[in-house]
C-alpha cells in the first residue's frame, strides 16, 4: 500500500520533470527530484506538526487570534492602532516607504473585498478605478491647479461613478463572464491612457504633480505620507466594517449566497450590486489620488493587469470577505517580496503557484471570514 503510494508519487514527479524538460534542459532532473522530495516529505511534516496541535493546512492559531480580536475588539483595535502609530518612529525611510505602499494596497484590497468578497462579483479590471483616481488628480492639478484635498473627493467620486457606469451594463452577467468583461474594461482603460496623447501624454505619463500640503506644511517625507495613508486606512476599515454589518452588507452577502433567494426576500439586487461596485471603485479612486500625490508622477505602466491580479491575490489569500484577513493579505504580499529581494525574479511564479494551491488546500484564506466559514463548511460537509 505505502509502496504503491511512493511509486505513484515518483511517477508524478517524473512526469512533471518530463514536462519541464524542454524548458529547463538538464535542470529538469533536479526539479523532478525536488518535487519528489517535497511530496514525499509533506505528509511527514504535516503529521509532525499535527502532533503539536497545529496543522499546516489549517492554521488554527490564526483564526483563534481572530476570535480573540472579536471578543476583545476595542482593546485589540486600540493596541493595533497605537502600534501602527508609533511604528514608523523606529524605522528607516526605506521601511516607512514600504509601509506606505502597504497602506495603499490595504485600501485597494479592502475596496475590492467589497466587490469580490462580500458581494461575490469577480472583478478583474479593478486597477482601472485606481487609474481613474490617479489620473483625475494628475489632470486636475496640471490643468486647473486644483489641490490634493479638493481632488481627493472628486477623484473618489469620479471612480465611484465609473464603477456605476461600468457596472450597470455588465451586472446582468454572472461569474466568469463578469470577470472577463471587467478585465476587458481594465484593458481598454489602459490602452486609452496609453494612446490618448493629447490628454494623458501617452506612455510618457504626467509629471510634476503637486505634493499634498496642509497650510504651509508640505507633505513630502515618507513619514508624513505614512500618517496620511494611516488615516485613510483607518477610514477605510471603519467604513467597510460598518457597511459589512449594516443592512446593505447583509444584502450583499445574501446576493453572494443566492441571488434568486435574495431577490425573493426583497433585496433590490441590481441596486445593491451597483452600490457594491461604486463603493469598491470609490476606495480605489481614493487610493489612486493618494498614489498620484505620493509619486508626483503617473503613467499607464502602474495600472497593468498584473496589478489587478495582485490586489485580487491579497483578497483571496487573506480570506474573501474577511477584513482582518484582507489586511493581512495585503501586508504579506507587499512585505514578502521586499524581504525576498533576491528572489524577485521568482516572485510571480510563486504567487501563481500559491494562488492555485490556496484554492485547493485552503479556499477560505488565511483568516477566514466567520460567515464565509460557515458557508464553506456546510458546502463541503
Amino acid at each position: 500500500m505505502i509502496k504503491n503510494k511512493i511509486l505513484e508519487k515518483s511517477i508524478w514527479a517524473l512526469w512533471l520533470g518530463l514536462l519541464a524538460l524542454p524548458f529547463m534542459g538538464k535542470k529538469a532532473g533536479i526539479l523532478a527530484i525536488a518535487i519528489l522530495l517535497v511530496i514525499l516529505l509533506l505528509p511527514l511534516l504535516n503529521g509532525l506538526i499535527a502532533r503539536f496541535g497545529i496543522s499546516v493546512s489549517r492554521l488554527n492559531f490564526l483564526s483563534s487570534s481572530a476570535n480573540w480580536l472579536k471578543t476583545n475588539k476595542k482593546m485589540a483595535l486600540l493596541i493595533l492602532f497605537s502600534f501602527a502609530a508609533i511604528l514608523p518612529l523606529f524605522m528607516n525611510r526605506y521601511f516607512v516607504d514600504v509601509a506606505v505602499l502597504c497602506g495603499i494596497y490595504i485600501v485597494l484590497a479592502l475596496g475590492l473585498n467589497v466587490i469580490v468578497g462580500l458581494t461575490g462579483l469577480l472583478a478583474l479590471g479593478y486597477i482601472a478605478f485606481y487609474a481613474v483616481g490617479a489620473y483625475c488628480y494628475a489632470l486636475l492639478w496640471t490643468h486647473y491647479h486644483i489641490n490634493f484635498w479638493l481632488a481627493l473627493p472628486i477623484g473618489t467620486a469620479l471612480a465611484g461613478v465609473f464603477g456605476v457606469l461600468l457596472g450597470s451594463p455588465v451586472l446582468r452577467l454572472r461569474g466568469d463572464y463578469l470577470a472577463i468583461v471587467t478585465l476587458g474594461f481594465g484593458e481598454i482603460t489602459r490602452i486609452v491612457l496609453n494612446n490618448w496623447d493629447e490628454l494623458t501624454r501617452g506612455p510618457n505619463g504626467i509629471l510634476g504633480i503637486a505634493r499634498p500640503s496642509i497650510g504651509d506644511f508640505i507633505i513630502k517625507q515618507p513619514i508624513h505620507y505614512y500618517y496620511l495613508i494611516l488615516a485613510f486606512v483607518v477610514l477605510t476599515i471603519f467604513i467597510t466594517t460598518r457597511l459589512e454589518h449594516s443592512r446593505i452588507g447583509r444584502a450583499w452577502v445574501a446576493i453572494r449566497e443566492d441571488e434568486v433567494a435574495a431577490a425573493a426576500c426583497g433585496v433590490n439586487v441590481t441596486l445593491m450590486k451597483l452600490l457594491a461596485f461604486a463603493t469598491g471603485a470609490a476606495f480605489a479612486g481614493l487610493g489612486g489620488v493618494f498614489f498620484a500625490g505620493k509619486m508626483i508622477f503617473v503613467s499607464p505602466e502602474s495600472f497593468t493587469f498584473m496589478e489587478s491580479v495582485m490586489v485580487l491575490c491579497m483578497v483571496v489569500l487573506g480570506g474573501m470577505g474577511s477584513i482582518p484577513g484582507v489586511i493581512l493579505g495585503a501586508i504579506a504580499l507587499i512585505i514578502l517580496p521586499e524581504a525576498l529581494r533576491q528572489f524577485q525574479f521568482y516572485r510571480l511564479l510563486m504567487f501563481g503557484g500559491a494562488m492555485a494551491l490556496m484554492m485547493i488546500i485552503r479556499p477560505q484564506g488565511l483568516i477566514p471570514s466567520q460567515r464565509r466559514k460557515m458557508e464553506l463548511e456546510e458546502e463541503n460537509g
Binding site: 518530463l18 524542454p22 461575490g120 455588465v170 466568469d176 472577463i180 484593458e187 443566492d258 510571480l348
Partner: protein
C-alpha cells in the same frame, strides 16, 4: 489595401479560431473559463522554437524546411497536450465541486505560474523563430499572399476539419457531445466522464499549441507574455461565436481577425488591441449567446 487586409485578417483569424476552440470545448463540458489556455498557446510557440533548436543541435538543421516544421508542430502539440491534461488533473479536478470562483482563481494562478515559469527558464527577451521559408508569395493585383500565410490557412482548415470529423463521427466524439449536454446523465449511461474531460483538454491544448507554432512562424518573434492578449482575444472569438459551440468558435475567430485587421487598416492601428475588448463588452451586453450559440443558462 482591402484585399491585403482581408488576407492578413483571415490568417490571424484562423489562429484565433484554433485557440478559441480550446476555450469553447472546455466551456462546453465544464462550464468554466480556462484562463490558462492562452499560456498553452504561448508554451506551444516556445516549444516550436525549442524543437527546431533541438534538431539543429542534432545536426539535422539542414533538412527540408517542411520536415523541420512538421517536427516542431508534433513536438509542440504533444507536449502542450500533456500540459493541458496535467493542469486539469492537478489544478481543476480537485475543485470540480467547489464554489464557482475557486476553479477560476486557480486557473488564473496556473496562468501566472506558467507565464513566469517560461520567463524564469527562457529569459525575458524575445525569442526568434528561425526563418524556414522565404518571405515571398503570390501577387494578387495590389495584394500579396505569402507562402507562410497559405500554410497557416491550410493547416488551420485541416485541423478544424479533423476536429469536426472527430467530434461528429467517432465514439469518443459522441461521448464528448453527450457529456457537454448532461454530465450526470452521461456518467449514468457508462461514459467515463473524467476520461472525456482529459481528452477535451488534450485536444484543445494541442490545437492551441499548433496556433502557437504558426504565430511564431508568422511573426518570427515570441515572448513569454503573448499568451495573455492572445488568450483574451481567442476567448472573445469563442464568445462571439457562441461559447460551447465549436463551429461558432471557428467563425468567431475568423470574424475577430477580420475586424482587427480591417480596423487597424482603416480606423486606427494604435487601438488595434482594444477592438477585441470593445466587441467583447458590447457582445456580452447585447447578445451574450453569440452568433451561433443558444440562450445561455444562468448558472450560479
Amino acid at each position: 489595401m482591402f484585399l491585403q487586409q482581408l488576407i492578413n485578417g483571415l490568417t490571424v483569424g484562423s489562429v484565433y479560431a484554433l485557440i478559441a476552440i480550446g476555450y469553447t470545448m472546455v466551456y462546453g463540458i465544464l462550464e468554466f473559463i480556462n484562463f490558462a489556455h492562452g499560456e498553452i498557446y504561448m508554451l506551444g510557440a516556445y516549444l516550436g522554437i525549442i524543437a527546431i533548436g533541438l534538431l539543429t543541435a542534432m545536426g539535422l538543421g539542414n533538412s527540408s524546411a517542411f520536415l523541420l516544421l512538421a517536427f516542431a508542430f508534433i513536438f509542440a502539440m504533444v507536449f502542450c497536450a500533456f500540459y493541458g491534461v496535467t493542469i486539469e488533473r492537478l489544478a481543476y479536478r480537485p475543485l470540480r465541486r467547489a464554489p464557482r470562483l475557486a476553479p477560476l482563481l486557480s486557473a488564473l494562478g496556473v496562468s501566472i505560474f506558467l507565464q513566469n515559469f517560461v520567463m524564469v527558464t527562457q529569459g525575458t527577451r524575445n525569442k526568434v523563430f528561425p526563418q524556414l521559408f522565404a518571405q515571398n508569395g503570390f501577387d494578387l493585383g495590389n495584394a500579396k499572399i505569402t507562402y507562410i500565410q497559405i500554410m497557416i490557412l491550410v493547416t488551420s482548415i485541416l485541423l478544424m476539419v479533423g476536429l469536426t470529423l472527430f467530434v461528429n463521427k467517432t465514439k469518443m466524439g459522441k461521448a464528448m457531445r453527450a457529456t457537454s449536454q448532461d454530465q450526470k446523465m452521461a456518467y449514468l449511461v457508462g461514459i467515463d466522464v473524467n476520461r472525456v474531460i482529459s481528452v477535451t483538454f488534450l485536444i484543445g491544448s494541442a490545437l492551441g499549441a499548433a496556433a502557437g507554432v504558426m504565430v511564431a512562424l508568422y511573426y518570427g518573434l515570441v515572448n513569454f507574455h503573448i499568451g495573455y492578449t492572445a488568450g483574451l482575444k481567442a476567448f472573445t472569438a469563442a464568445v462571439l461565436g457562441g461559447i460551447g459551440n465549436i463551429p461558432g468558435a471557428m467563425l468567431g475567430g475568423i470574424i475577430l481577425g477580420l475586424v482587427e485587421s480591417l480596423g487597424a487598416g482603416y480606423l486606427s492601428s494604435e487601438y488595434k488591441d482594444a477592438y477585441a475588448f470593445i466587441i467583447l463588452v458590447l457582445l456580452l451586453i447585447f447578445r451574450p449567446q453569440g452568433i451561433l450559440g443558444e440562450r445561455l443558462k444562468e448558472r450560479s
